[in-house]
């Protein structure tokens, strides 16, 4: 556990030393809320059937989507970014000669980003409640917490897989490219997947982000309990159980390959 804290502490000191970046990130949350607020004005008064399962309000729908889609981006990008940074900054070799196992280095390098993403999501939702009348009065926070935990584990598997590509290819990781674009398009961030044609909905249900966003919306806006969220919980658990060990195994192979090719710190 001390090793994990060491990574969190390292990243906190590093990130907090860039003061303007911190302020800009908070400002960015506000502008994103403002954008969704005006967009939802366009749809005000309309009876949109596809939004009914989530309470019918587009602003609430898209804000929850925005708050938790960020976790997907963090998982997919932070792990590969930490490898890329290590290659470019030269810290990767220094880490790999320590008494710390590679999977721990990888996972611990991403924890601060998840903590920061959680803080930003809380700030984002608080700003939504305080400034834009976002209604979270029905929220079931236990359901939200369970979904959040599964969000991180399910997405991390894909993040580690993306990091494996960066370890070998250095740049141009196809996992990040494909999943990021597919999830944004078909995962139900901006619109419910029920508006998609049937054949595209099939693809949506293969993406973990679909279950995360749906589960989060149902827990936040409709107060779904753990038992009501069980289908989403089951699917995300399966994603986690399959993807995490496979991706860690692939990452170890990628490190072996980089050691064989002598490209650990090349970029």
């Amino acid at each position: 556990m001390a090793k994990v804290f060491a990574f969190i502490w390292r990243d906190f000191i590093t990130e907090s030393s860039y003061k303007l970046s911190f302020l800009l990130q908070i400002f960015n949350l506000f502008t994103s809320l403002l954008l969704f607020f005006f967009l939802s004005k366009l749809l005000e008064g309309l009876d949109i059937i596809s939004l009914k399962p989530y309470g019918g309000d587009y602003f609430s729908f898209v804000v929850i989507g925005g708050a938790f889609f960020a976790f997907f981006e963090v998982a997919l990008q932070t792990l590969s970014k930490s490898i890329r940074d290590g290659q470019m900054l030269g810290t990767l070799e220094a880490l790999l000669v320590t008494q710390t196992e590679i999977p721990l280095i990888l996972i611990a390098s991403s924890i601060y980003s998840f903590i920061w993403a959680t803080i930003k999501s809380v700030i984002y939702l608080l700003l939504g409640v305080l400034l834009f009348d976002l209604d979270l009065s029905n929220a079931n926070f236990i359901g939200v917490a369970v979904m959040l935990l599964l969000t991180i584990t399910a997405f991390s598997g894909f993040g580690i897989l993306a990091a494996s590509f960066v370890m070998v290819l250095k740049k141009g990781d196809p996992i990040n490219f494909i999943l990021s674009n597919l999830s944004k398009l078909l995962g139900g961030f901006y619109y419910p997947i029920s508006v998609l044609p049937d054949w595209l909905q099939v693809i949506s249900y293969l993406l973990p982000v679909t279950y995360v966003l749906e589960g989060m919306r149902l827990a936040f806006l409709q107060g779904y309990t753990i038992s009501q969220l069980l289908p989403n919980i089951m699917v995300l658990s399966i994603f986690s159980l399959i993807m995490l060990p496979i991706s860690i195994w692939i990452f170890s192979k990628a490190v072996q390959r980089a050691k064989q090719d002598g490209t650990l710190t090349q970029y």
């Binding site: 804290f5 030393s17 810290t91 320590t98």
Partner: protein
């Protein structure tokens, strides 16, 4: 038993293919030879120098000993342990002094950097102050951001990091690179007097500086284009002749 034994060690790196090679020869593997048939034995408590020009294979050899690069053939034993098969155990025996200043976190202080790497090596924080003091970094220096360190201070911090686990073997890659003559001399005496004579460490040091090896090393090996041209005691070798013939 020797601290380090290297037997018939070779390393080839795959060459990056051009677009035309990918199309015309998709299955042909092109390789560059970095090390060829290296044989070396380094005794316990010895200060061993690897001398060679840029691209001679010094860093590749050191990285193989540190388990960061896998050999293509042959073997390297650290205290009798194979670097390829027993990498985890080998890492406990060695300290790698990476002279590359990019291997530290620039937004952290020197002490914070050392505390971070201490945690990853399961070392208690108390040891950090002792090590900083041992390499000649004051408390004032230790609390400065790494980005504000001079080259000499960075080298000292790299040595302190290499000593965190109190390793029996210290592997140093160009430790005095980029230092002014006075700072280089101070670093040399730190290596010779503190690490070898006081701490009884086995030190392997890669350098391209002839004067440095003459000044502090017990024995040396001269690497040229991936091969050992000569090895032995500094006084027994006519370094100038070997290098000019290389």
């Amino acid at each position: 038993m020797y601290s380090i034994e290297i037997q018939n060690l070779s390393k080839n790196f795959p060459q990056l293919k051009t677009y035309s090679d990918i199309v015309l020869h998709p299955f042909t593997k092109q390789e560059t030879m970095a090390l060829r048939n290296i044989n070396l034995k380094i005794k316990q408590g010895e200060l061993f120098g690897l001398l060679g020009t840029n691209g001679a294979g010094k860093t590749t050899l050191l990285k193989i000993l540190c388990t960061l690069v896998l050999p293509s053939s042959g073997c390297a034993l650290v205290q009798g342990l194979d670097v390829k098969q027993q990498a985890k155990h080998v890492k406990r025996l060695i300290g790698y002094v990476i002279s590359d200043e990019r291997s530290f976190y620039w937004r952290l202080t020197g002490k914070q950097n050392l505390l971070f790497f201490a945690s990853l090596n399961n070392i208690l924080a108390d040891k950090v102050d002792y090590l900083l003091d041992s390499v000649g970094l004051t408390q004032f220096d230790a609390n400065k951001l790494f980005k504000d360190y001079s080259t000499g201070m960075r080298k000292k911090l790299a040595i302190a990091r290499g000593l965190l686990t109190d390793p029996e073997i210290l592997i140093m890659d160009e430790p005095a690179n980029g230092l002014d003559p006075l700072a280089a001399m101070r670093l040399q005496s730190l290596i010779r007097e503190f690490l070898v004579e006081q701490q009884h460490k086995t030190v392997i040091m890669a350098t391209h500086d002839l004067h440095q090896v003459e000044a502090i090393c017990d024995r040396i090996a001269i690497l040229d284009k991936g091969e050992v041209k000569a090895s032995g005691k500094v006084g027994d070798l006519n370094l100038m002749e070997i290098l000019s013939n290389g």
